[in-house]
C-alpha cells in the first residue's frame, strides 16, 4: 500500500488503535530540559511511578542556565537554580541520562540531539518544547508536547494521539547568494500565514531541500511550529546517513548497516496522497526580516513596512498593535533602521555552519558603536569546534560577546534581557511581544543578516556586504 512518510512511521509505531480514532503510539526518544522536563519527571516520581525505558530518555540543562563564562547553578533568573537542581535530582532518581551544565555534550536540546545522534530517521521523538519539530530534518517524527504528556511518555513509552493531517511543500529552485534556510522559512510563513500549516505534519521536499545540508534543514524545520504545524519532516537521504555516521548515540556495527538500509527506504511513495499540497520557488526568496510581532509579519529586507490594509480587515487590529509595539509606521524602510543590539544564537541558528557564515561577514570588521552584540553557540560542542577554528576570535575582535551555550536571550525567563524599547536583530525564531525582554523589539533574520546589521548599526542587507 502506498503512503506518505508519516504513514510509514506511524504504522511501525502503532501499538494499539485507540477508540474514536486515536492511536497509542510508541515513543522511541524522550528529551527533557530543566524548564519543562524537570517538572514532568518530578511529578512522575511523586506519583510513585517509574520511567518505563530510562535509556531512551535524555535530559539537558539549556533553557535558564547562565551563559556567562564561569557559570554555576546560579541563574540570572530568580529561582532558576531551583529548576536546575530539581531537574538534576529527578534525572538521577529516575535513572535518566543528564547532560549537566559542565558536560561537554551540554547544549540546546534541539542542537545536541542531532549532534549526538539521539534523533534517528524513522524514530518517534518527543520533548516538552515547541521547537522539537526541528528534528524532523533527519526524518524522525519529532514533536513538541506538554509536561503532562511528557510524564505519560516517560511512564508508558507511548502517547495516545490521532494521526495528524499531512501537507507537502515542494520547494524547487536554488536559493540566491546571501539567502539561507532561515529566509526561506520566513518567506514561507509570510506567504502562507502563521496558521498556514495548522495541525499538519509538513513534509518539505523538492530540489531546494535535497540541496540543503542537515544544519540548514534543521533551521527550516525549526520554524514549522511558527507555521502552526504539528511537525515537519524531511525524508532521509545520503546526507542524513553521512551526518549521523559515527555519532555518539547512533547505531554501530551490524545495526548501523540495518539502520542505513531502513533509513534510505523511508520516503513518501510517488503516488502518496497528502491532505494538502503547496509549492514554493526558492529562487524568488530574498533575505527576510520581520517588522512586527509575529513571524508572519515579515518582508524582504529591502522592503518596507506594509500598509495595514494588506492583511485584510481582521488583521488590522493586530497590525496597529504590532506597529505601535515596534515603533514603526507603514512605509518605513527596514534597511537602515537603527538597532541597539544583535543576537546570534538559539536552536534555529547557532550551529557551526551558522557561526561560520556570520564570522565570514564579521572578519576584519567591527560592531557599530553602541550596539550590544552577543553570540551564544548552540552547544558546548559547537562552541569548542568554533574555538578550534578561531571563530571565537573573529566574533570577539568584532566586538561580540562570546558565551557559553544555552537558550540565553532567545527568550526572557525573568533574568537577562535587552531593555524596553530596545531594537534587536536576532537569529532566533520568535518576535512575539516581550519575547526577548519586557517591551523589547525583535526583528528576526538570518545569522548573516544579524552580523551585517551589527556592523552597520542598523538593519543591513547582507547582499551589499562584500566578502
Amino acid at each position: 500500500m502506498s503512503g506518505t512518510l508519516l504513514d510509514k512511521i506511524w504504522e511501525t509505531h502503532r501499538v494499539a488503535g485507540g477508540h474514536g480514532g486515536a492511536d497509542l503510539v510508541l515513543i522511541d526518544r524522550i528529551l527533557l530540559h530543566e524548564r519543562t522536563g524537570g517538572i514532568a519527571l518530578k511529578s512522575l516520581l511523586e506519583s510513585g511511578r517509574e520511567v518505563m525505558a530510562p535509556e531512551h530518555a535524555f535530559a539537558v540543562m539549556d533553557h535558564i542556565v547562565d551563559t556567562h563564562v564561569g557559570r554555576t547553578d546560579r541563574t540570572i533568573m530568580p529561582t532558576g537554580t531551583d529548576f536546575i537542581r530539581a531537574t538534576r535530582r529527578a534525572a538521577h532518581a529516575a535513572g535518566v541520562r543528564l547532560f549537566d551544565l559542565d558536560d561537554p555534550a551540554q547544549g540546546i536540546v534541539h542542537v545536541i540531539s542531532p549532534e549526538l545522534g539521539i534523533v534517528q530517521p524513522g524514530a518517534t521523538l518527543v520533548c516538552p518544547d515547541s521547537h522539537t519539530c526541528s528534528q524532523g530534518a533527519l526524518g524522525a517524527l519529532a514533536w513538541g508536547i506538554g509536561s503532562t504528556e511528557a510524564e505519560h511518555a516517560l511512564a508508558t513509552s507511548t502517547l495516545s494521539l490521532r494521526r495528524p493531517r499531512t501537507m507537502r511543500i515542494r520547494i524547487e529552485g536554488v536559493l540566491a547568494p546571501g539567502v539561507t534556510a532561515k529566509d526561506l522559512a520566513l518567506a514561507l510563513i509570510g506567504r502562507f500565514g502563521a496558521g498556514g500549516g495548522e495541525g499538519h505534519v509538513v513534509e518539505y521536499s523538492g530540489s531546494a531541500v535535497s540541496a540543503m545540508d542537515i544544519e540548514a534543514r534543521l533551521t527550516l524545520c525549526n520554524m514549522a511550529t511558527e507555521f502552526a504545524a504539528f511537525s515537519a519532516l524531511i525524508a532521509p537521504d545520503s546526507r542524513t546517513v553521512d551526518y549521523l555516521r559515527g555519532r555518539r548515540f547512533a547505531p554501530a556495527g551490524d545495526d548501523w548497516v540495518k539502520a542505513e538500509e531502513n533509513w534510505l527506504s523511508l520516503r513518501s511513495d510517488d503516488d502518496a496522497v497528502f491532505d494538502s499540497e503547496l509549492s514554493f520557488d526558492a529562487g524568488t526568496v530574498a533575505p527576510m526580516v520581520t517588522w512586527g510581532t509575529n513571524p508572519q509579519q515579515v518582508v524582504p529586507i529591502d522592503g518596507t513596512v506594509p500598509d495595514r490594509n494588506a492583511g485584510g480587515p481582521k488583521a488590522q487590529e493586530n497590525w496597529d498593535r504590532a506597529l505601535d509595539y515596534m515603533g514603526l509606521v507603514p512605509g518605513d524602510r527596514l534597511t537602515g533602521l537603527k538597532i541597539d543590539a544583535a543576537f546570534i544564537g538559539s536552536c534555529t541558528n547557532s550551529r557551526i555552519s551558522d557561526l561560520r557564515r556570520a564570522a565570514a561577514i564579521l572578519k576584519g570588521r567591527k560592531v557599530a558603536e553602541g550596539v550590544k552584540a552577543i553570540c551564544v553557540p548552540g552547544s558546548t560542542m559547537v562552541k569548542r569546534q568554533a574555538e578550534a577554528e578561531g571563530l571565537d576570535r573573529i566574533f570577539r575582535d568584532a566586538g561580540f560577546e562570546w558565551r557559553e551555550s544555552g537558550c540565553s536571550m532567545c527568550f526572557f525567563a525573568g533574568g537577562e534581557s535587552f531593555g524596553p524599547g530596545e531594537r534587536v536583530v536576532s537569529s532566533t525564531n520568535r518576535n512575539f511581544e516581550s519575547r526577548q525582554g519586557p517591551r523589547t523589539r525583535t526583528h528576526i533574520a538570518s545569522p548573516e543578516t544579524v552580523a551585517a546589521s551589527a556592523v552597520a548599526g542598523s538593519i543591513a542587507d547582507v547582499r551589499t556586504f562584500a566578502r
Binding site: M52, A105, G146, T148, T156, G195, A252
Partner: protein, 217 residues
C-alpha cells in the same frame, strides 16, 4: 483532573488572534517547579499596569467587575501558539477558566487543555464572534456548555453545536488519569516492544551503549 460534563457560567471576550503562551503566562511568572501558584501571573503583561507590578489595569477585560468569576474564555484564531509550556493551561485552569471557545487552537496547547480538564471548543469564526457579541452586550449572560451533547446554550436555546473528537471528549468527561488508563495496556506495550526490538534493533542498541569514545563534533 476535574471531570467535565455540563457547565453554566459567564463568558469573557478576548478577541485577538495568535495569543501566545508567553502572553497567557509570561516566562518571568513561572517561578517554581510546580504546577500551581500560576493564576496571579495569568496574562500578567496585559492585566497589570506595568511589568512586575500587581496593580490591575482597569482597562483590561478580565479586570472589569462585570467579568468577575467568568469561566468561559472567548478568543481568536491560533490561541495558545508559541512555547509549549503547559503552565499556560495550568494558569488558566487555576484562574477558573474551564472552557475556551476559539476558531482554532495551537495543537500542543489543545492537547494540554485536554490533559488538564479545560475544554477547547473550536467553532467557525462567525460563531465565535456571535458569542463574543452576546457576552459583550450582556456580561451577566449565563452560557451552558454541555459537553455530552456537544452544544452551547443560553437557557434552553441552543446557540451552536460543536465537534470534538471522541477520545478527548471521553477524557474530559471521565476526568481519569490518562497514565493509569494507558498502563492497563502495559503487557501489550511490552509485547510490542519485544517484536520491535527484532524489527528495529538499532533503536535499542544505540542508547544502551554510549559510544562516546568515537564522538565527533
Amino acid at each position: 483532573m476535574t471531570p467535565f460534563t455540563v457547565l453554566t457560567a459567564r463568558a469573557a471576550p478576548l478577541m485577538r488572534d495568535n495569543i501566545d503562551t508567553d502572553t497567557i503566562i509570561p516566562s518571568r511568572e513561572m517561578r517554581t517547579v510546580a504546577k500551581t501558584g500560576l493564576a496571579d501571573g495569568l496574562f500578567a503583561g496585559w492585566r497589570y499596569t506595568s511589568i512586575g507590578s500587581r496593580t490591575p489595569d482597569p482597562e483590561f477585560i478580565l479586570n472589569r467587575p462585570e467579568r468577575r468569576g467568568f469561566s468561559i474564555l472567548v478568543t481568536g484564531d491560533n490561541f495558545g501558539c508559541g512555547s509549549s509550556r503547559e503552565h499556560a493551561v495550568w494558569a488558566l485552569a487555576e484562574y477558573g477558566i474551564r472552557a475556551i471557545v476559539a476558531p482554532s487552537f495551537n495543537p500542543i496547547f489543545r492537547a494540554n487543555c485536554i490533559a488538564n480538564g479545560v475544554v477547547p471548543v473550536s467553532v467557525e469564526r462567525d460563531t465565535v464572534e456571535r458569542l463574543a457579541a452576546m457576552t459583550e452586550a450582556d456580561p451577566s449572560l449565563l452560557f451552558t456548555l454541555d459537553l455530552p451533547r456537544q452544544e452551547m446554550r443560553v437557557g434552553d436555546d441552543v446557540i451552536f453545536g460543536f465537534e470534538i473528537d471522541p477520545e478527548s471528549k471521553d477524557a474530559l468527561i471521565s476526568g481519569l488519569d490518562p497514565i493509569a488508563r494507558t498502563l492497563r495496556l502495559r503487557d501489550q506495550i511490552l509485547a510490542f516492544v519485544k517484536t520491535d526490538r527484532q524489527l528495529r534493533p538499532w533503536i535499542y542498541s544505540a542508547t544502551a551503549t554510549d559510544h562516546s569514545a568515537r564522538e565527533t563534533a
